[in-house]
């Protein structure tokens, strides 16, 4: 499919120069075109049973997240309880895919979630800036994995990427992937700092070539987080990577997705860009904290026909 992808993928990563040549040989992104396409998909009108399907799917793909300096074991336990019983009055409500916490709270989360299917994801590698030595980053990952994290959300070295030192970024992802063991690796591109859609596409390919299981938009800690056009570009990248290699990589949109309306727009983007195969927690996630309650309120409105208000969902 992608004419610039060689028959032997190892060629692409054989040297710094080969990697740069490949990444810069990827088809460009037209900024206006990408924004127009994302906006057009945002006008899909999702009603009735389609909306019910989308709300349940959105619930199932959430990485329910708390990443504050002030996080406590109590807060994490409350979040885990919320994940296990999102809507106590509607036991058929889908649970979120994972709880996402800092590494030092992974053990707490594992214990609170017990043997349920809800995964524990942890941000590692000196999240959110990533400005630490590789040894420190790997130790960070090792701690989270040792305490039982199923998924690791790593940040890339944006400084190295913007300086064109792609090989360094690549090697770091490879090393973190090795340190993950059986844990799934989500690679955070921090697209708000990459500045251009071309960079987003290159960083997505770089992460996928290095073994990422997911590419993720943002840490949620910078001014611009997930946007529909950025997510569109990443979905195009995973779609093209699958066509070229046969391997499916997931996409996680994180930061700033707070309403059901927004979440549904992202699901439409996934559906019409990467395709229906990606509409599963294995291949698409939304990193959020506030979104869950809005979905619960909309879900109840759809079921009962009336809107019950924020006091009818739990605050944490």
């Amino acid at each position: 499919m992608l004419s610039v992808f060689p028959a032997d993928p190892a060629e692409v990563t054989s040297s710094e120069a080969a990697l740069a040549r490949f990444l810069h040989g990827l088809p460009g992104i037209d900024t206006v075109g990408a924004q127009a396409r994302a906006a057009a998909l945002g006008t899909r009108s999702i009603k009735n049973e389609a909306k019910a399907f989308a709300i349940d799917l959105a619930l199932a793909v959430i990485d329910l997240t708390t990443l504050e300096g002030a996080d406590t074991p109590g807060k994490v336990r409350a979040l885990c309880a919320k994940a296990l019983h999102p809507d106590p009055s509607a036991p058929d409500t889908p649970r979120p895919a994972a709880i996402c916490v800092y590494p030092d709270l992974v053990a707490e989360a594992r214990q609170a979630l017990g043997a349920t299917a809800v995964k524990v994801a942890s941000v590692a590698t000196a999240f959110p800036s990533g400005r630490a030595s590789l040894d420190v980053k790997l130790a960070d990952v090792a701690e989270a994995v040792r305490d039982g994290a199923h998924e690791i959300d790593m940040v890339i070295d944006r400084g190295a990427f913007l300086a064109g030192r792609y090989r360094r970024v690549f090697d770091e992802i490879v090393a973190v992937k090795a340190a993950c063991g059986d844990a799934h690796l989500k690679v955070i591109l921090e697209t708000g700092e990459l500045a251009t859609y071309d960079n987003v596409r290159r960083a997505s390919w770089l992460a996928m070539l290095a073994g990422a299981d997911f590419v993720k938009t943002s840490t949620g800690k910078v001014a611009t987080n997930a946007t529909p056009p950025v997510t569109l570009v990443m979905l195009e990248a995973v779609r093209d990577f699958h066509a070229a290699t046969g391997r499916r990589v997931g996409v996680k949109a994180a930061g700033g997705i707070r309403t059901t309306k927004d979440a549904i727009k992202y699901l439409v983007l996934v559906h019409e860009t990467a395709g229906p195969d990606w509409l599963t927690p294995d291949l698409f996630r939304i990193g959020a904290s506030g979104l869950l309650n809005d979905l619960l309120m909309q879900r109840r409105k759809l079921a009962t026909g009336h809107y019950s208000g924020p006091d009818y969902v739990t605050v944490d």
Binding site: S45, A50, D56
Partner: protein, 481 residues
Amino acid sequence: MTTPGRAFAYAPAPESRSAADIAPSYGLFVDGRFAEAADGATLKTVNPATEEVLSEVAVGGEADVDRAVKAARKAFKAWSALPGAERAKYLFRIARLIQEHARELAVLETLDNGKPIRESRDVDLPLVAAHFFHHAGWADKLAYAGFGPNPRPLGVAGQVIPWNFPLLMLAWKIAPALATGNTVVLKPAETTPLTALRFAEICVEAGLPPGVVNIVTGAGATGRAVVAHPDVDKIAFTGSTPVGKEIIRTVAGTGRRLTLELGGKAANIVYDDAALDSAIEGIVNGVFFNQGQVCCAGSRLLVQESVADEVVAMLTRRLGTLRLGDPLDKNTDIGAINSAAQLDRVKALAAAGDDEGAERWTAPCAIPAKGFWFPPTVFTGVTQAHRIAREEIFGPVLSVLTFRTPAEAVEKANNTPYGLSAGVWTEKGAKALWTAQRLRAGVVWTNTFNRFDPASPFGGFKESGFGREGGRHGLGAYLNV
């Protein structure tokens, strides 16, 4: 509980049909009033998506056209004498009323024409309002438009418009005519008269003096009567090239002004260094917008050989996601073909593609049982010698040709009797400009397609007609300069 990976089927999301109030019958709008045709003749207008009869409209004969021209002539004196700022007030009022009635007009347009509501709502209506706003702004500034200190209107404009963008073409014709002080006799298309008649009511609501705008519905004979009327000072026509030629013969030697916006067979050139994902969107928008019933449609895809397979694969995958069906559904991408006759023409030309040995690919769309439908279709292996590469199909049919060098792309793009529009897709600015300068087309879009703005002149070369609509150039066509 959600089943992962299950198809995300969009439930129907229909716009309310009741937003548009359709009368069982309509008369001609002449001298500020509706009246039946002198001989009582009528025609039926149908919804092309369902074949349901929507309404009955009068068919204007020569006597009716004459009455309309006389009314326009009478109104011209006072209208042209108004200060530009006064005319602007009426145009602004019409523009605002169009915005206020946008939903209703979009539904009406979709019912009568078959185009998807997302296009009539998001493209047609905003542009219609924009054209009236833009020209309202010009009405009091004509002395500064570069036509001399006191440009004068021509008089009565006879305007004949097509069925593909009924209200937008009306706006393109009426807004500049009124802004420059002319009065109008407009004949909408036989199959899509309803929004023009609703527009007539809006003119009344806006308090426009009687006779300034006259709408005479009917078919070919009515149009011929408008064109042939000796007291019309300017003819503006948008439609097919054969009819355009007939009009030239009628008008020749009479000294009347003429602008023609005719057919097209636009080349959409995709270089191998293009932003391919956006190019795919541009190709889709270029030829499947309004079911391909667009005179400037990018119906010939000229793709560089080195990426041809990739582009065709990307394109067919993308076309698989297009949703064909009820035009009133807000999620519909492809609506109905405007009429049974038009559907027959599209089918015949597509069959010619098969006969000539091109390879046909059809998007996997379910076709509704009733109405006029043609699924998005792509022909590969097309050469310049094929009919589907030369003749305007005016339907959702794309012909894919390849080229190896920029010079070859330009040569093939220009090798057509038409010259209305073209597209260039490349990330290299110099190459885009080099190509655009050599393309003989009235509009060349770079890294986009089918984009319109009232400030930008639109019109053709060669058999695509002459004269420009929109922008400063469009004003000149309605002024004695």
